[in-house]
């Protein structure tokens, strides 16, 4: 328990410190920090709209956060979540487009599988290159991002767009009719809560994918800490030499970690295509893949931490527009500054740790004279 508290403390300090810095910036441009804090809390956490949008934005952050975290547990840096979620989203839409008229449940299932497979492969290739040739995954995953953007953009533009549609998006797999989607899709929160007698506005994009995200958190936790494969994966991340000594295949686990990472990133496509737009919309991601790195960092690569961090980032995204509208001088970039500041503080944890230790006397005895 003490361990959990200690692990939560530093990210918490980083977040609080970042908000204080953000407050100073608000003061500088001439607005009230308290107003901004209030706008943040009310727009993100109150009302169906607030919670709905916060959790909807949090969903992709959960997936990419988990993706980066799993890779990191194996000692790998997956910077390619962005490309992985693009190919996954396209794959999900593609399945819907090439199987018109098939039973919706089947199409949806195949779509989800396609998204996971596409994301997995897109990350698995850099994994293979690392395992076989030692190619650094930071470089290969970034390159795969560019390839994904170009490839999928071209496919959408030349082959899957509606004739004459100026927007770079695919044909729809489902259409909204009278406020409810018709065609293969996964239900929105309104449809899920309706039978329970809870009214939730149908215009809110929060959908079943959020529950998939929660499930993913649990599955990742169980996989990493309760299964023998998770043990092997983490062992490789902690000490490849010791893992090899224990008969664990380093190459296999590198590929596996990257594949799982890509699968998780690919689930963003499910949220986007099957839960929200019902088509592939190029550039739908405002950098979810990269934010996932920040979310994983803040959540200390643990599913519980990732969940909390993702909700925070979701809340920030949700409130950004309100902050822009209801203040005189603060724009929605304030939220981006805040996210960046959080990352900086978390990354400087080493400096923090020294100071906080002197305050709280919770020390890690260093090894003396051995």
């Amino acid at each position: 328990m003490k361990n959990v508290a200690k692990n939560l403390m530093f990210p918490l300090i980083a977040v609080v410190a970042a908000f204080l810095v953000g407050g100073v910036i608000v003061l500088i441009v001439g607005d009230s920090p308290l107003l901004v804090y209030e706008l943040f809390l009310t727009s993100a956490f109150t009302g169906a709209d607030g919670i709905g949008y916060t959790l909807f934005y949090a969903t992709p952050f959960i997936f990419t956060g988990l993706a980066v975290a799993v890779a990191f547990k194996c000692g790998l840096l997956n910077i390619g979540a962005e490309g992985q979620l693009i190919v996954a989203a396209f794959a999900a839409a593609w399945v819907g487009l090439v199987l018109p008229g098939w039973p919706a449940l089947l199409v949806v299932t195949l779509s989800i599988l396609a998204a996971m497979l596409a994301g997995g492969i897109w990350a698995g290739v850099p994994g293979l290159l690392k395992a076989r040739f030692g190619a650094h995954e930071v470089i290969t995953t970034i390159m795969m991002n560019f390839i994904a953007a170009g490839l999928i953009g071209w496919l959408t533009h030349d082959h899957f767009r509606k004739q004459g549609d100026p927007i770079l998006e695919s044909l729809p797999i489902a259409e909204m009719k009278d406020g409810a989607p018709v065609g293969p899709h996964i239900p929105r929160m309104s449809a899920i809560l309706e039978p329970l007698g809870i009214h939730f506005p149908a215009r809110l994009p929060l959908n079943m994918a959020f529950f998939f995200a929660l499930a993913a958190c649990v599955i990742v936790y169980v996989f990493l800490w309760k299964t023998k494969w998770g043990y092997e994966l983490r062992a490789v991340g902690v000490s490849p030499g010791a893992a090899q000594y224990g008969g664990i295949s380093i190459a296999r686990n590198i590929v596996l970690a990257m594949f799982i990472s890509g699968m998780l990133a690919g689930m963003v496509g499910v949220n986007e295509v099957l839960g929200y737009r019902y088509r592939y919309y190029h550039d739908f991601s405002p950098g979810y893949g990269f934010s996932g790195i920040a979310v994983a960092l803040l959540g200390r690569n643990h599913p519980a931490g990732v969940l909390l961090a993702a909700i925070l980032f979701g809340a920030l995204t949700r409130s950004s527009l309100f902050i822009q509208i209801f203040t005189d001088h603060v724009s929605k970039d304030w939220v981006v500054i805040l996210q960046a500041t959080i990352i900086l503080f978390v990354a400087c944890e080493a400096v923090f740790r020294g100071g906080a230790l002197r305050l709280f006397r919770g020390s890690r005895p260093s090894v003396a004279g051995e």
Binding site: E232, G369, E370
Partner: protein, 529 residues
């Protein structure tokens, strides 16, 4: 008419804390001028810490230091060097591509105008080398020198800076027996020329042979200060550990059975075709301990890695009880009863951030009952870890602790516990007691002999000749990837083995059988060798 002997160094009440750890607890010691003073103790006793305080790396929280009778504040090594102190560390700080002279003047270069006056530096280095019998060529490239010679370069570095008080940290750790003798001669020579020498070591026999006075440290405190004349091996060990210690391994005759491990023509080519192992062939039988003696870097590390399945050989064959195992990975070898205690326990043997329970299953984690088809069986793992930790005296016996919280000796005991739990047929042990305190060393040695008596075959690789000689039933000496010879530890002398370790051949007529090991209670005066 004589002056009262002065004290080169006095340390009074030195206390140092690192966080919650009290590394030095009111240390009092006195080093006489023109003497060789040994500071001994187990790992973690605090001897390196107190010397690092003397040399200015750390500042003591309490206490005072007197150099030549004057109280001094030592805030950095620069202060220490200015006062005539010099330190030679266990891990050398040399730049291999540079020459001896360049290394020695690094940081204290003599200037002539704008250029470094290497001519003057070389002359001075040669002068010092001759004066103290160090036999080092100022123009030699450090990378080409032997380990013993590199160490002498480190000593020259301190002398060049005018050191009168030399501190040597584990000076004989990397030397062959012959080089150890040479080092002793040099140190005695330095003492004769007025230097004061402090050596930090855990090798009791050497301390008795070389030093004038001894300070014994235990758990951060001084357990005793005494002149070497009054010391015995058994007495010192008792002071170091606080209880009776069995120094010589108590073992019965070996009764070996059939061959368990057969190595045939094992070869390994390194980069550029260099032969790391050259057609090595040998056997280890059940119920015997085969020791491999040799200076590090002659292929032992690679040999053990090949036998453990961590590296592929270039040629040859490895048979376990007659069946070839070359294609098997470490996990499969462990299933067949091959245990491996690795020489680098941090890089190979442990997952340091994981807890003891997680470490206790490394290498057997896929076996029932530790795990099922998917899940790890946490309860089984914890219970088994508790049992192992208790049976092998791992301290503290808390399996939820991360492995890095344990001392070296306890980490090693955990590894031994884990490996022996598979009831091995063959045990590959490399450097089992490196960085391990005397108590744990004793324990591990005893366990190895127990396992041998139960019929296991044990291959022991160690750079500690004493360990090899006291544990092994047979010894083979490895040199440049080949077997230089096989000896019987009961009759071969240290000198004979030492010669083979450096590639020479012992004299045709072997030396008369001499008791090879030190009796426990032999008091040796400082100049008996």
């Amino acid at each position: 008419m004589g002056e009262a002997p002065k004290n080169a160094v006095e340390m009074h009440g030195i206390t140092k804390r690192f966080g919650e750890v009290l590394a030095n607890d009111h240390i009092d010691l006195v080093v006489r001028d023109h003497s060789i003073h040994a500071i001994i103790g187990e790992n973690g006793a605090g001897k390196s810490t107190v010397m690092n305080i003397l040399y200015g790396f750390y500042t003591a929280d309490e206490g005072e230091i007197l150099i030549d009778g004057e109280p001094r504040a030592l805030k950095s090594p620069r202060d220490a060097i200015a006062l005539g102190l010099g330190m030679v560390h266990q891990h050398f700080m040399l730049v291999e591509p540079l020459t001896v002279t360049e290394n020695i003047v690094l940081g204290a270069e003599p200037i002539a105008g704008l250029a470094i006056d290497y001519k003057r530096a070389r002359a001075r280095v040669r002068e010092l080398s001759e004066q103290y019998g160090l036999k080092i060529d100022p123009n030699a490239t450090v990378g080409d020198l032997s380990v013993g010679q590199q160490q002498r370069v480190e000593i020259l570095k301190t002398l060049y800076r005018g050191a009168r008080i030399l501190i040597l940290d584990e000076p004989t750790a990397v030397l062959t027996p012959g080089e150890v003798e040479e080092m002793f001669a040099i140190l005695r020579g330095l003492r004769a020329q007025g230097k004061t020498i402090i050596i930090i070591t855990h090798k009791l026999a050497e301390v008795l042979a070389l030093s004038d006075n001894i300070t014994v440290m235990r758990d951060g405190r001084v357990a005793g200060n005494l002149p070497t004349k009054e010391a015995t091996v058994g007495g010192l060990a008792r002071m170091m550990v606080g209880r009776e210690v069995l120094l010589r391994v108590d073992k019965k005759e070996a009764h070996p059975s059939g061959a368990v491990l057969t190595v045939r023509d094992l070869s390994l080519r390194g980069r550029e075709g260099a032969a790391i192992l050259d057609k090595m062939s040998f056997e280890v039988r059940g119920g015997e301990i085969l020791g491999i003696a040799g200076v590090e870097g002659n292929g032992q590390t690679e040999l053990v890695e090949i036998l453990a399945g961590l590296r592929k050989a270039s040629g040859g064959q490895v048979l376990l009880e007659g069946a070839p195992i070359d294609a098997l990975d470490p996990y499969q070898r462990r299933l067949r009863g091959v245990a491996h205690i690795p020489e680098d326990r941090h890089r190979r043997g442990m997952l340091l951030p994981f807890d003891l329970a997680a470490n206790s299953i490394l290498g057997v984690h896929r076996n029932a009952p530790m795990s099922g088809p998917v899940l790890l069986h946490g309860h089984v793992i914890t219970t088994r870890a508790d049992r192992l930790v208790r049976a092998y005296d791992v301290r503290p016996p808390v399996v939820a602790l991360p492995a890095r919280a344990l001392s070296g000796g306890n980490q090693q005991k955990l590894i031994v516990a884990r490996e022996f739990d598979i009831k091995p047929r063959l045990v590959l042990v490399a450097q089992p007691t490196r960085g391990v305190d005397i108590g744990a060393t004793e324990f591990i040695h005893r366990k190895l002999v127990e396992l041998r008596d139960e019929g296991a075959a044990i291959l022991l690789v160690s750079a500690e000749l004493d360990e090899v000689r006291s544990l092994s039933d047979r010894i083979i000496v490895i040199y440049e990837g080949r077997i230089a010879g096989e000896v019987d530890p009961r009759i071969a002398s240290e000198e004979e083995i030492g010669i083979m370790m450096t590639g020479g051949r012992p004299a045709e007529t072997g030396p008369a059988p001499v008791p090879a090991l030190l009796p426990d209670d032999a008091p040796l005066s400082a100049d008996s060798r």
